[in-house]
Symmetry: C2
Subunit: 177 residues, 2 copies
């Protein structure tokens, strides 16, 4: 992979002509086979287990990962087609910009979920709190480190009015199917 070549581009901002090519490192197996009525966040998927089937060629990259209780997964929303720049998110009835939302129907269709790591068996990771579809292509795994990754004193814009919504309300419907 020579990503330096990718920066030779001609758009006004210097990136419009650039494409980034990723090779998935594995696949995520979950009980979720329909985009409807899924948990829309890991915190709404307590007790729901899945596995990461890492491609065996990447297994050496798991050394010492068992010391971490939480992993941040980067993956592709592989059933999403196209995107909209304004969406009515699952938790609202009015439209917001896609970048002010975590809705999946977005440019590049990349998802992030921080899940619990239960166990590692060779190139298989057993995980919990899975909120992605079965068969999701995995792009990266990073260890979750609260000192780096947590934030306090945060303003949450339009989400403020939903901040006490019960976890069982954090479910998807068919709007982004």
């Amino acid at each position: 992979m020579n990503t330096k070549d990718e920066t030779n581009i001609n758009s006004p901002l210097g990136v419009g002509g650039l494409q980034i090519i990723l090779n998935p490192i594995g696949i995520i197996r979950t009980p979720h086979t329909d985009v409807k009525n899924m948990p829309i966040q890991p915190i709404a998927a307590e007790g729901i287990r899945g596995t990461i089937e890492l491609l065996p060629e990447y297994a050496a990259g798991l050394k010492d990962i068992e010391g971490f209780s939480h992993l941040t997964l980067i993956y592709r929303f592989h059933k999403i087609e196209g995107y909209e720049l304004e969406v009515v998110p699952f938790m609202d009835t009015v439209a917001h910009g896609i970048f002010a939302s975590k809705a999946p129907k977005r440019p590049n269709a990349i998802g992030i979920s921080t899940v619990k790591l239960l166990a590692v068996e060779g190139s298989i990771l057993h995980i919990e709190q899975v909120d992605m579809l079965d068969g999701t292509p995995l792009i990266d795994i990073k260890p979750f480190y609260p000192r780096y990754d947590n934030r306090e004193n945060v303003k949450i814009g339009w989400l403020e009015k939903n901040k006490n919504l019960p976890l069982d309300k954090l479910r998807s419907d068919e709007r982004f199917k």
Copy 2:
């Protein structure tokens, strides 16, 4: 974009032959022009400002984003070439698996940083706590929402011994150049 086509593949796990093609949505401008002696995390970049130059075609996706104080950016480590499955991270002297580390020289070379949003001017976002190189291709912007994104009661593996390292020690060197 038709991502469904991307799942027609032949590897043992069903993903090895799949490539994901991303189109950057903009570029991140920062004061960091050398990979050496950079802050390695946003929390080590307090007061350091930058801008996101979003491609104007995506500007409508920013609606209501100004209500959020923190944004999670997904981007390409565009100066990284190749990867190693075991690395000695900046904060250690022994090797760990790349997926037990946030080191940049990793498969797919995708970075995540949660930064502060200061202001929005058209398709330009003024941000703070920037820890990425100038010219970084931006893949996605998601609003940071503590209820979804923070985690408590976390085990942090090999990072435990570094948890009280002063912020001014969180700097890069040339090891991944």
